[in-house]
Amino acid sequence: MSDIRQTTLARMREGQSGTVVQIQGGRGLVNRLNGLGIVPGKRITKISSMVMRGPVTIEVDRAKVAIGFGMASRVIVKTD
């Protein structure tokens, strides 16, 4: 069953919060995001995004992290 509240980090609105559900990517991506604490179950808030598919900035555990657009598109988030 698809959940309408599921979206990607890239498509979230600024200021919106949610919980990471899944990372659709290879080991390399999962590995890099894991180091920064972006793992399934983690609460995150989107702060901003740049124009022209630029990086997305989020807040996770009180730290701010900038993620390239392509990566952000592969992080599935369930919004509040």
Binding site: N34, G37, R62, K64, A66
Partner: protein, 563 residues
């Protein structure tokens, strides 16, 4: 060891007294530094490792950290107290390896106004190792940390999977950390504005333009009010007297004093050891080294640079890089050597090759820039703008070409953005001193040596022979007098002296522009050459050098046709 940008280098500096560069962005330390400290009666070696989030490395800098781990008896795990959740992941990984650990709970001072309350005793009990709150920048808690290093333990910790480890971290954090009301600081709002497209773009323009103006203002002030008066009023009479004593000419006179111009010392054109040999490094280059590194140090410590990386990301992708490559590029405006080293923060070999090649071709170092501002600036500012404009275009065009031709793909940006901080004056001044001192001890002997060598070679007519041999390229293609080849050859030693060599040739403004651009783009100075060889390997270094020569000749030729 610890996550990036938690203050490992600041702590290392406190423990050992060894000065290392400390900044407010992840990836300041790309290599390691060694020092020693007294531990009771014993002397212990201390190693400052690059930051890493996990023990599964994703960049060269992280790989270095990983390798260093095996050589240590005790790990001082530096943990960012304002972000326990993420930092404890590495702590648990370290404990699972069975390495004795003591935890420094750094940036402890920030927890108060962030409303974070950590029960340090409980944290120590849960982890099974000593936990000491520290503020490395001010020195708070360092004494207690040192006392506890011998008490580092490696409690039996089962190996966990990733999920289990995060769950364990969550369990610990829940028990020891209480988050209360947080006071929003005014610069937190500024923090968010700088990564939004419109406000961020405006801020970047203001910051960069302001920095450039500040560098120029400080540099020119030092030259006009300190160094020029010193040289013209005090030093010039001394050298003139010496010149008379030496008979006003001859082999040794030409080496020591150089050629007098109209019976007077001309510090730019005389080219003797005691004239240009001192004036170029001290009165032309040093003022800009000081002003550039002062402004860069402040920028580094505020935490603005990673935000600039986010803003520049889309543009940098066109060049086959991601936004974070802007940091090595900015460092390159100071000196290409640390800039090429700092490309280690980039993840792939392809990015490192592109970034290092672009830096060594299109990013002029502060020493060269100071000479460009001094010599070309005297002809009018439009010519300085031409030099910078050309180099900027080369940077973009060459980057696009490399992006299409170098195989592989470049990974995307993924960086932590540090909070804004007011730059601690101690670290700013310490960095400024280290970098200025580095220039003094490394550059000045080479500059003096180069001046002597040039004079001797001139005297025996060696350069004339070379000049005649290379005349077709230098005169035909670049439109420079054939003697300019001397400058291009010396450029291999020092770019600032090389540009100085163009001064006595009486070049037109257009020729100076061509000369400056070709010098900036052609072969890097020997120090950069060595670091390129070490970082890229011989094959890629030769590739980069080939691109350099071809690009320099093409661009120089085109400029010659236009101007």
């Amino acid at each position: 060891m610890g996550n990036p940008n938690v203050g490992k280098s600041a702590l290392f500096s406190r423990l050992t007294g060894v000065r290392v560069v400390v900044s407010n962005y992840p990836g300041t330390t790309v290599s390691y530094a060694r020092g020693s400290m007294k531990l009771g009666d014993e002397i212990a070696d201390v190693i400052d490792a690059p930051g890493t989030y996990t023990l599964e490395p994703t960049s060269e800098a992280e790989e270095i950290a990983q390798k260093l781990l095996d050589s240590g008896d005790v790990v001082v795990n530096v943990v960012n107290a304002t972000n326990l959740e993420r930092n404890l992941y590495l702590t648990l990984q370290l404990l699972e390896r069975g390495i004795p650990v003591v935890v420094a709970l750094n940036i402890w001072d920030d927890t108060k106004h962030l409303g974070i309350d950590i029960d340090r005793d409980k944290l120590g009990a849960l982890l099974g190792v000593p936990v000491i709150p520290t503020v490395a920048v001010t020195g708070e808690g360092i004494k207690e940390l040192v006392e506890n290093i011998p008490r580092a333990t490696s409690p039996h910790t089962p190996a966990r999977s990733r999920g289990e480890r995060w769950a364990a971290v969550g369990g610990i954090v829940e028990k020891v950390q209480h988050i209360g009301h947080r006071h929003h600081r005014w610069f937190e709002r500024l923090a968010d504005a700088s990564v939004r497209p419109l406000t961020g773009g405006i801020m970047a323009l203001v910051v960069l333009a302001g920095s450039f103006m500040l560098v120029r203002f400080i540099g020119e002030s030092l030259i006009n009010y300190v160094f020029n008066p010193l040289f013209n009023n005090l030093w010039s009479p001394v050298v003139l007297n010496l010149s008379n004593l030496m008979g006003g000419g001859g082999f040794f006179h030409d080496i020591v004093v150089g050629k007098l111009i109209g019976g007077e010392v001309d510090f730019v054109q005389s080219f003797g050891l005691l004239t240009s040999g001192l004036y170029v490094p001290f009165a032309m280059v040093l003022p800009y080294i000081v002003s550039f590194y002062l402004v860069l140090g402040i920028l580094e410590d505020t935490g603005y640079l990673p935000r600039l990386a986010v803003l520049m990301d889309t543009i940098m992708h066109r060049l086959g890089l991601h936004g974070y490559a802007i940091i090595p590029t900015l460092l390159g405006l100071g000196c290409n050597v640390p800039a090429v080293l700092s490309t280690r923060i980039l993840e792939s070999k392809r990015e490192r090759f592109i970034a290092a090649t672009l830096i060594s071709i299109a990013v002029p170092c502060a020493a060269l820039q100071a000479m460009i501002l001094g010599l070309v600036g005297a002809q009018g500012w439009q010519y300085v703008a031409m030099v910078y404009g050309t180099l900027f275009l080369v940077w973009i065009i060459l980057g696009v070409i490399l992006n299409y031709t170098v195989r592989g793909f470049s990974p995307e940006l993924l960086i932590e953005i540090p909070p804004y901080r007011l730059p601690p004056w101690r670290t700013v001044l310490q960095k400024l001193w280290m970098r200025t001192y580095g220039f003094l001890v490394e550059a000045i002997p080479i500059i003096l040596g180069a001046v002597v060598a040039i004079n001797i070679l001139y005297y025996f007519g060696v350069f004339n022979a070379i000049a005649n041999f290379t005349a077709p390229v230098v005169t035909g293609l670049l439109g420079l007098p054939k003697e300019a080849v001397t400058a291009l050859a010396i450029g291999f030693l020092r770019k600032d002296v090389a540009l100085g060599l163009l001064a006595p040739l009486g070049l037109s403004a257009g020729q100076l522009v061509v000369g400056s651009v070709v010098l900036a783009m052609s072969f890097p100075c020997i120090a950069t050459f060595v670091v390129l060889l070490r970082e890229l390997g011989i094959l890629n270094m030769l590739k980069a050098a080939g691109i350099m020569i071809v690009a320099a000749l093409i661009v120089g030729g085109i400029l010659n046709l236009i101007l």
